[in-house]
């Protein structure tokens, strides 16, 4: 049994290991290891196209994570106040947003946003002098909007689980002591769900930073890091791709591991 488990873990980690090993390859040949070197990292980090994509991905991911953390935590608190059938209906909707494949959110967001832009742009062109009207188009904002939908639902689920394990007794005690609802929230609920909120923030950032499936539909002419990587892979294997991929993997590993540990801690502490 232990051997079986080890084999599966090896299977899950071998792609990651392969990329990491080849990223330190010295030669130009991407298929043969000829020596150890950092040169592809240096080359990658001085490539303006990579840096621009990295900058865009980072901006989008941070904004998405902030929006999703606030809106998701709010939604989780709102769910807390609901009861019975209505709550389980809303929870099903939240879960469906997380479960659905990226292609669905990508296409529905694309449809919604291009329709909205089709309405807003003519209106804007009436408001401004000819040639000066700003034109809304797919890009940074549509990326943020589409990613935020998935991430909001994700944060809602994580914070909701933390709230559920908290139980009503602490807030009830606080109300019995005549604390105002907001004071109860700030002094009792928020500190207890805070680790889950941070975990949601980190996972939202990682999702948005890594996402290709949704971004491919709504990105317009902008190039995020995953879209840059995909194009680079399509045009042929290059050692630079391995270096970028390894850096991305390392960053997401740290973020996801932190998020998971925070989640386990918060559930363990609350779930007695």
């Amino acid at each position: 049994m232990r051997i079986y488990a080890t084999l599966i873990y090896l299977f899950l980690y071998c792609p990651i290991a392969v990329i990491a090993v080849f990223s330190f390859n010295a030669g130009n040949d991407v298929t043969r290891i000829t020596g150890f070197s950092w040169r592809w990292y240096g080359k990658t980090l001085s490539d303006p196209a990579v840096l621009a994509a990295l900058h865009l991905s980072f901006t989008v991911a941070i904004t998405v994570a902030l929006i999703a953390t606030f809106a998701g935590t709010m939604a989780a608190l709102g769910l807390q106040g609901m009861n019975g059938r209505l709550r389980s209906a809303v929870e099903t909707l939240v879960k469906s947003a997380v479960i659905l494949p990226g292609v669905v959110i990508g296409i529905t967001s694309l449809t919604a946003l291009s329709t909205l832009f089709g309405w807003i742009n003519p209106a804007l062109s009436h408001l401004f002098r000819p040639g000066q009207a700003p034109e809304l188009a797919l890009g940074t904002l549509s990326l943020i909007a589409a990613h935020a939908l998935f991430c909001m639902a994700l944060v809602t689920l994580i914070v909701r689980a933390s709230l559920a394990s908290l139980g009503p007794s602490l807030t009830e005690a606080s109300f019995d002591l005549n604390a105002a609802p907001f004071a109860t929230f700030r002094q009792i609920t928020l500190p207890l769900i805070f680790p889950a909120t941070i975990a949601g923030f980190l996972l939202s950032f990682t999702f948005s930073f890594d996402d290709f499936a949704i971004a491919n539909f709504v990105t317009g002419k902008q190039t995020t890091l995953p879209i840059y990587l995909y194009a680079a892979i399509r045009s042929g294997l290059t050692p630079e791709v391995n270096a970028i991929a390894t850096m991305v993997l390392l960053t997401t590993f740290v973020l996801v591991a932190t998020a998971l540990i925070l989640m386990q801690r918060s559930l363990k502490r609350l779930g007695r």
Binding site: A71, G72, M74, A97, V104, T111, M152, A213, A257
Partner: protein, 283 residues
Amino acid sequence: MKHSWSTWLLLTPFALWFAVLLLVPLCVILVSSFAGTATGGGALPAFTLAQYASLPVRLIVFRTTITLAVLATALSLIIAYPLAYFIAMQARTRWRAPLLTLLVLPFGTSILIRTYAWTYLFGNHGIPALLNGPGWGIVRLINTPFAVLVGMLCGYLPLMVLPICLCLRRVDKQVLEAAADLGAPAWRRFQQVTLPLSFPGIATGCMLIFVRLLGEYLIPAMLGGDKVASIGNVLVATILQSGNRALGAAVFAALALILLTTGALYLWLMRRRFAASDDAVPP
């Protein structure tokens, strides 16, 4: 205080986002899938089933996608169950959390990069070259359904292990002890107690993976090339590249229908299951 205004206010941002970016466009697409195709590639206001009539030509795409998704779901269940059993029932308590973390960790990283790694391994300089070394002949791995299947398994296996594991954790050890006291051998205890109790986990895992795989387009595109068709890639091609919105809408509507049916089936199964267990256990 039944559903006070603050409850609704707290839910507003999510509800708004959900309605504008998912629910409303989903309905709009379902309606527009009945529209005609304009000469420029846009949609004509009309009611026709022309787009749906062209779907049977694409039947092969649906068949390939669904077959691969079913196959990958079944395989991942077979592979994941023993691992979930090991983590939940056999591993030491202090190892459980690290094992689960290690399981989810690769799942949290970019699917693009992990799939890209498989193009390396399956490419002509990867595993085929290793096999060719001892003279076993040249095997083609990249751009085959097999490569896509492996990519899918590697990409989504944790989605199956996790729910089963969580479900097995809730199995009451005393029930198993009772079965042992009554003389049931290990295999029978598993078959008649553990397995039925882990059914909700199995159902959840299968639903999660199946739904994800139906819409997956990165893995078939990278590991299957143009040899393995997928609904997702047809959607990318019709909506993003050729701009044929009406046809894309019909394909998308068909996909949405399959997804909704899967979801409804899952909810029905779970509800029936819970109703049954409520009857069995008196409060």
